[in-house]
Symmetry: C5
Subunit: 255 residues, 5 copies
């Protein structure tokens, strides 16, 4: 679903592999103890920093990122306008029926609260709290990737320091210095790859996704509050359009 | 249009080329695999971080930056004062006619809302939401350049590490060490050039432009609200002048 | 209790030791003066930065981190719902009896204030002040680890510079250069290990724990205020559920 | 006027020159192409980042920094107290006459607004907007120096990379390696000097100056609002003294 | 008085000296021109950044840090409770007498305002402004140390670059390379020591002290406002206890 993530990782990795293979065999870039110290050490740091459950959640979240279908803000506005018209013609209780077509749980909850006769202010404050805590959970997910992107180069440096110390203590055979230093640099290389090709862009994507989802949820809150307050549909549409880019605004009244 | 951007890039690039050519042929600074790993890898990272659409938007925004004509804050204030006088003499509906001379869509929208008889507070809150979300979209555009400026030196370092490992594994011929290391350093060089000569200053320019545009839109909101509230034109002018530097303030009353 | 912290430290340390032992004897990584300058110097810096008492508190806090049993947010909500039902049926004074089952001192205090007949607004503002200052004390604890993670690599660099200067002043015997530089690098190594394997992840964990505890205390405040205001239990439950992830929400009404 | 700025730059530069001359001729630190790439490249970046006008403003602002005479907060308070007494005895219109002695344009404007009969709340909100936008313009001036301090070491690194690549490609004559590398390092040196001896401290000074000026303007707003509200002079003095350090407070009542 | 600062500096310095002496004579770490460029250059930068007066203030503040006696928050609460009881029994004017026992000028001022019959809201807003500006002045003091900690390693790098360029231009005698490079590294060493052993921890201590003092002053404001409002002493004590750690709370009512 999320083509750009997959293409992006393939492009970055593919070009890196190409550059490696062009200069020599791939084998000299694979060293199991170096890999263990960077990957394992980073995993260890991450487990100290975050509880097990959060780390597994982060992996789930990353998987969802690749499969996630973004809701279109303009389609959501069209849907909310339909609900507004329905509520004006048939009363707020008519939304009960419309709830079945709605897939998003958050919108369902908002509609349920409207049907239950909550005050507009209560609806807004309860849903706003929920959005705030959704944002907090999202940012924890992204922060795990940010942390890994910080720990892996650090572990890479630790590994390189170990390699350098061993090499420097043992310089009797000059011909072995080059290869020993090459191996010492591998941990720095692994750390940089994990941080820069995997984790930093992934953390960025998760933050982007979170912002998109928060925008959608904010539109839902604004829309349901407008419906509940019986606001003029034209004004409501103008209000909701203020949240999105001008070129995405399609008025339901000009159709 | 935006001379300083074009001159700035030419100066920085020209001096760099000059320094390169003075020391030897340009050819030793061109290495296609190195270029591929840095440019392609950075592009890959960027596609993981941002969806396709956002990256294309960013390029569009960058193009617009070079062609953009900034609105003059003092001219806008003069125009708003004319509208205020017109509205005082002929009534708020007279702004309907003046809307045709207005090019800026945001000001048109504000005037339409005033003509439609919105409350000053509603006008302010709806337009303020719009400005807030314009700011968010602008800063996303600038952030893509900030991200590229962070990914390209990282990919440069990854490329240099690959080159160093290959060189160190293969030091039998001492005369090849220098050139091999020179090639390894090229990716770091490319990364530094992309980050520091292109992306960081461009991100800065986009942020500056965004601030300028937000100031203009804030003036529009303040002005239309004053007009709608029927505020004294002298006070309105003083209010608007508070947003700009003293030397740019030209009172319409002293003329 | 806190398995992930212990496992994480063991994994990171174990893999590092493995990598060291695979390349040679452990002995070459132990140098007492180097250790003294990094550990002692970092301790010295920390004592200048923080008073004795705060440093000891931080160690206590770290110990508590390993032994701490997190309160379950969903269990707390269930408990608060029971109190709400009790208060509705038997009056607010009935909470006096329920206070004995409560272990958490903060919740006890909130209940005592409710039983004492405080206004809901007073209860909220006093408890919110308390939460704010708890957060401040927690973040001081985490910041001590952040400071150590900043001072130890700096002391490592100071140590390495000392070693390098001494080595460079004394290069008559080429065979001693390697080992002397290896020893000089050890302080950098110690600094990196202290910062990255111990202190940074520990600071992260303390921040996570603090956030968890603040969430629990926020739920307590919200819940007691709802009870004190005699709010409808269904609404109260919806309000409290807004703070936690959807999959953790278990309504007491569907049972 | 601003002795500390001039002395500071002379001390830092003088000691640097002394250290250079003690170790050899000054000539080896002067290389025109290196200077061009760092100074010109940094200028190019700055022109991309900021429009022409802003860069010239920044130079003006820097010049003003050297010539600026700071207003004394305690003298201003004494002056405001005099105005307060005058206004109490002779009425607010008596300030019209006192306006001629006032040099500061901002204070003149505040007094004019008071004489014009503005409400205290209007006076505060309009002047507060003005202060907010003054602060924004000041911080843009300081930020240009911050940007230059970031671009110049980056251009220095680009220059050094160019020199290193050329040197490494051309190592046939070992005796030329040292001098070639020395030249390559010069761009890094220039970048560090521009950033650390000129721009960073200058940006700091501009920020300090801005804070001082904002404090003075805040005192003017508070003072004029007190006068306009006809507040008790003793209370007004206590209010204004709260903004300054105890040792600077000189009561006009104890005299 | 402030033992931890003195012990901390001695420990860090002592261990550094020990490490130096163990490896060779102290003399090789002393180079007057290097010292001049780092210390003098840093001083120069600082004088550009801050006016003379602020730098001297910072030294005074640092001296005070070593001699400062912290006020105990729990003793202050006990004292405020006594004042509350006194005011309830003998009227607010009875505080006039109690003022003589009070050493802290801020508390004296708060009591004077209470005795003078100020409104609780006026007292709070005036004292809150004062605390805000005290915080600003404190943070300026700490920021001077933060700036020095940033300038000294930068000047160290400038010095090392000067040394390296001179060494590289003059490599005819291989035996002089080592010592020349050792001297070049000394400026980096001095910069690191000034920044990491002196200034960073000192800036941290000043920030800690400021936070402690602000907490004490906040307690004074809250307490005097409670007394002035004639609040129930038990509630007042609960309010004040909310600011401090549970283990420090000693109720005056359980005695």
């Amino acid at each position: 679903m999320d083509l750009s993530t997959i293409i992006g990782i393939c492009v970055a990795f593919g070009l890196m592999l190409m550059a490696i293979l062009q200069g020599g065999p791939l084998g000299i870039f694979i060293d199991v103890p170096s890999l263990l110290i960077v990957v394992g050490g980073t995993l260890g740091n991450t487990l100290v920093h975050y509880p097990f459950a959060d780390v597994f959640d982060a992996l789930n979240v990353a998987k969802k990122t690749l499969l996630y279908k973004e809701t279109s803000a303009s389609e959501l506005i069209t849907q909310l306008m339909e609900f507004a018209n329905k509520a004006r013609k048939e009363g707020i209780l008519a939304l009960q029926g419309a709830m079945n077509e709605v897939e998003d749980e958050f919108l369902q909850k908002a509609m349920q609260m409207a049907v239950d006769g909550q005050e507009p202010a209560t609806l807004r404050s309860m849903l706003a709290t929920e959005v705030e805590y959704i944002e907090m959970r999202h940012s924890k997910g992204a922060n795990i990737f940010v942390s890994i992107a910080a720990y892996s180069p650090a572990m890479g440096m630790v590994g390189t320091l170990i390699g350098l110390v061993q090499m420097l203590q043992n310089m009797s055979d000059p011909s072995s210095i080059g290869p020993a230093m090459a191996v010492a640099l591998l941990t720095t290389f692994y750390g940089a790859v994990i941080a820069n090709i995997f984790c930093s862009p992934m953390a960025g994507k998760l933050k982007n996704r979170s912002e998109g989802e928060i925008l959608i949820k904010t539109l839902m809150i604004e829309g349901m509050q407008s419906i509940l307050s019986g606001e003029n549909p034209r004004i409501m549409e103008q209000k909701l359009h203020a949240f999105i880019a001008p070129k995405l605004r399609e008025s339901t009244f000009n159709k």
